[in-house]
Amino acid sequence: MAVSTGGPEEDRDLARRFVAGDVESVRRIYARYAGAVFTVAFSRLADRDLADEAVQETFLKAWRARATFDPDRNLSPWLYMIARRTAADMARGERRRPATTPLPPTLAADDPEQRGDPWEAWQVRCALRDLPGDERELIRLTHYVGLTHSQVAEQTGLPIGTVKSRLHRAHRRLAQRLAHLRVIA
């Protein structure tokens, strides 16, 4: 799916269309935010299928509540709140299941304390979305896959100096985009 990297202006335009009931605006909003909604849902639920379900539920709830949203405000925190509450409701529902129904393995094994602040995770996911694709891929290979710079160079066919300089640029972009998190911390 091609993800638009439009900024606040595009968000406002989308929000206006969304509030007006334009079904097509949902596709664009989904393209921009489904990943971040998934991140928040998975952070709470630690289960792939439940997180997918929470993504669907979040967008449906947002649609049903669209008349309450002021389109001159930022769409991102509003969607985040709906996603967080939806995931929390689903987590409570999972805990209320009879004991004969085992928790999903990942939910039982993963420590919620290790998952951190979901708002921070949301912000990082949105910042990753806005990176150029090649830089995002280098960040993924380094931080998520855990490759060394040499291994990234081998896998991508890039000279190692290019890997390092692009990673440096990507880290700088992310750090600038996420600078406000330092202030909060």
Partner: protein, 59 residues
């Protein structure tokens, strides 16, 4: 991505991962930052919304 971009020798190795907080770097290693919902989920969302948006027939 191309091979033609020259490396930047001015970037010292210890600066490559610099600039990010430990918390952000920890988050970048978590699967939920990279997993994406399945493509068919968008269709499900749009279908539900479109169905809810249909004008209702009077009783």
């Amino acid at each position: 991505m191309t091979d033609s971009e020259p490396p930047s020798p001015e970037v010292p190795p210890d600066a490559v991962t610099g600039g990010l907080t430990d918390e952000v770097r920890r988050l970048l290693a978590r699967p939920e930052l990279w997993l994406v919902p399945p493509p068919e989920l968008l269709r499900a969302v749009v279908d539900c919304i479109a169905a809810e948006s249909l004008p209702r027939e009077p009783p």
